[in-house]
Amino acid sequence: MSVLLKWFLWLLIFIAPPSFANDKTDFSLTVETEKTTSKKKKETWWEKRNKRTDLYYPHNTHMAVMEKEGDSCFLCHPFNANKITDLELLKKLNIIANEPLEAICHECHVIKLTAPWRCELCHSSPDTIWPNDHNFDYLTHHGEDARQDEGKCRQCHIDLSFCSDCHFRRDPVQRRVHMLGYRTTHGIEARINTVSCSRCHNAHYCSDCHREHR
């Protein structure tokens, strides 16, 4: 009986190593993955703050302005008195208090225009703020939206030159909308649908030339 047991043990030792070895490799892998996940879990919003690529926020530039205005870090990161003792709730409240969103940023950059107002300065990737309706055909239909709520356009297109660059354009060399030689045939389309011309051109645009030829 003992001989049989010995043989069985020997067999186990010889057969088992490869599977143990595999187990070991698997185990080390799990340990590594666990390490990485625990690292990921431990990383707080504070540690991640410099890795954000969707928004550019230069603290030092803002600090210089705040010093000038007599303001401090508390403008965005308040240390208000607190009576809440539920730590989980307090964590949530802290995040809300600490993270300024659109209303705070846009107050100076969009509404008051006391700060630079080019969208791409802060929104490095335009995809993150690109409106859904601004598709390939939007250029043709943008006027309808603009007439309904010009303020909505102005949220992003703050500089009026964005409109006037096209709407008051007098440069005959660079043509953006019409094909070459359109000047010769434009009268036909103007007679068929004058409204379509007036989407971009005001009356002066026509009369400036047509008056001369009378």
Partner: protein
């Protein structure tokens, strides 16, 4: 003998428990009941005493038949759980009968008398014995009654202001280096706790100016300290912007938790017991630095 020991081991505890169950269960730190309020105390008419003129459940609680309701089934969130409620603070409820001034804690930070001297006994509020200020003091000589990171919590909350909780962590190597640089440059101390974590005393100077010599880095603190006025604020137009930024998120949080929360902004006018001024960001910048 067997029967006697059986009786002692099993039956006596049963009898004792049975007797205890008949008592009214009280939550910990509950106000004493079935006692007559002292003669000099004016209990408002809205707070009815029992037939014997004693304080009873219905004196303080407006909930119907509360004395017959098991504690775990009492709606503690009901407005009238504390008569006349809801109250912002429990102490506001207590003040219906008790005089708030009688229970006001002394401001232990206010150590100096009119002559600018302090009583060494006051030091023993936090220190086991008053450190000898004439000698060079090491951290070990301070002999705190509690570990320094816990000593403030006897009177203050662990989170007395927003962002307190997320500051009570171990700063990384880069920040520690920055802190040491600031200590040297500005002639202050930014002490960490025994585990190397940021604690209240890292930013707050617990002693009234003048207790520790100003030349001593531990004694250097904000100049406009007035312990009677404390921290004071002035209204600021940024509050409108700040509130509109938080409005939607606070509404969501309030909906989730069932309580209403609000956040606002007021500009600091005066500040007390800080190692550096916070109102101009100097205190923050002693530790925080930004690449861009």
């Amino acid at each position: 003998m067997k029967y006697i020991s059986f009786f002692i081991i099993f039956l006596i505890p049963l009898l004792v428990n049975g007797k205890e169950e008949r008592k009214i269960e009280m939550p910990p730190l509950h106000h004493v009941v079935k006692v007559k309020p002292p003669e000099n105390m004016k209990v408002p008419k809205e707070f009815p005493l029992n037939n014997e003129g004693q304080i009873d459940c219905k004196t303080c609680h407006g909930i119907k038949d509360i004395e017959k309701t098991p504690i775990n089934k009492v709606n503690k969130k009901a407005d009238d759980f504390h008569r006349g409620g809801p109250y912002e603070q429990l102490t506001d409820f207590c003040a219906n009968c008790h005089n708030k001034k009688d229970y006001k804690r002394p401001n232990i930070h206010k150590l100096l008398d009119e002559k600018g001297e302090f009583d060494k006994k006051d030091c023993e509020y936090c220190h086991k014995e008053a450190p000898d200020l004439k000698k060079e003091i090491n951290r070990e000589d301070l002999k705190f009654r509690l570990p320094p990171q816990k000593i403030c919590f006897g009177c203050h909350l662990k989170t007395p202001h927003l962002n307190a909780l997320n500051h009570q962590v171990k700063p990384d190597k880069k920040m520690r280096k920055r802190m040491h640089e600031s200590e040297k440059k500005l002639g202050i101390i930014l002490p960490l706790d025994n585990e190397g974590k940021i604690m209240c005393a890292t930013c707050h100077a617990p002693h009234q100016p003048g207790v520790i010599d100003k030349k001593n880095p531990a004694g250097k603190q904000v100049a406009d300290t007035d312990l009677d006025e404390g921290v004071s604020y002035v209204k600021h137009p940024w509050n409108r912007v700040f509130q509109s930024d938080k409005k939607a998120r606070l509404a969501k949080l309030s909906q989730e938790s069932g309580n209403v929360y609000s956040l606002g902004y007021e500009r600091i006018k005066t500040e007390v017991l800080l190692r550096l001024p916070a109102k101009d960001g100097a205190l923050c910048q002693a530790c925080h630095t930004f690449e861009k």
